[in-house]
């Protein structure tokens, strides 16, 4: 699992690639430490290349969302594969997250 972060007009686009499971969820959390420390307030997590996520991965995304919200940052998810998206639907996390079909849509939505 890897996260590549880029910035455009104050929006931080974090492209996640690989599998988010109990072994990699900590890495995912760490990848966002700097953005949280620097209080970056517009975040897009692009998940087009995330092929697998388990409950640890979902837990990490919930924690990230709560951490961003603490200082008023907005975080959007984009590009979820059908299977990953279905887990957000089953767990009702779709109500909690701002989920956009494509990365570009998420960027434009700020």
């Amino acid at each position: 699992m890897q996260v590549v972060v880029s910035e455009k007009d104050g929006i931080f686009i974090c492209r996640v690639e690989g599998e988010i499971d109990i072994n990699t969820a900590v890495q995912l959390k760490k990848a966002f430490d700097k953005l949280i420390r620097e209080k970056r307030d517009k975040i897009v997590i692009s998940m087009e290349k995330v092929s697998y996520i388990d409950s640890s991965g979902l837990a990490t995304l919930v924690e990230l969302l709560k951490n961003f919200r603490k200082y008023g940052a907005r975080m959007k998810l984009a590009g979820l594969t059908a299977k990953v998206k279905s887990l957000f639907e089953i767990t009702k996390l779709e109500k909690l997250f701002d989920i956009l079909e494509k990365e570009e849509e998420a960027i434009k939505a700020f």
């Binding site: 072994n23 388990d54 409950s55 640890s56 837990a59 919930v62 887990l87 767990t91 009702k92 909690l96």
Partner: protein, 137 residues
Amino acid sequence: MAVQGISESIKMPSDIKKIRKVIARIVDLLVERNVDKSHMFDIRLSVEEAIINAIEHGNKKDKNLIVDISFAIDDEKIEVAVEDQGGGFDHTKMPDPTTNGNVLRAHGRGVYLIHKLMDRVQYNDRGNRIKLIKYLR
């Protein structure tokens, strides 16, 4: 041509890092049977969640304690039983993670997902053994 049914049993220490090898074996058998990717995702996730629960909540991460995984696959279905050496838990008392009060909680979705993704889920009376059944066709 139908592939013959197979059953196996793996005993693993209560070490999260060892889960991958067990999952890889099960996934290999599913690939051999051309099980579709969506089913494969559901089975992998459910088995992983069951083993994580066995390690973390059942065996309390004690690496001296064993998690026993036995599985049987044929053309019709896969059955996977995961047993830990703990005192067991009452699955009927698990909070619903989708309610407004719980949805913001970071944890507590594993068992819920298992029940949603598998066709049948059974527990022994003690609550330290979970059996997952998924129909493949």
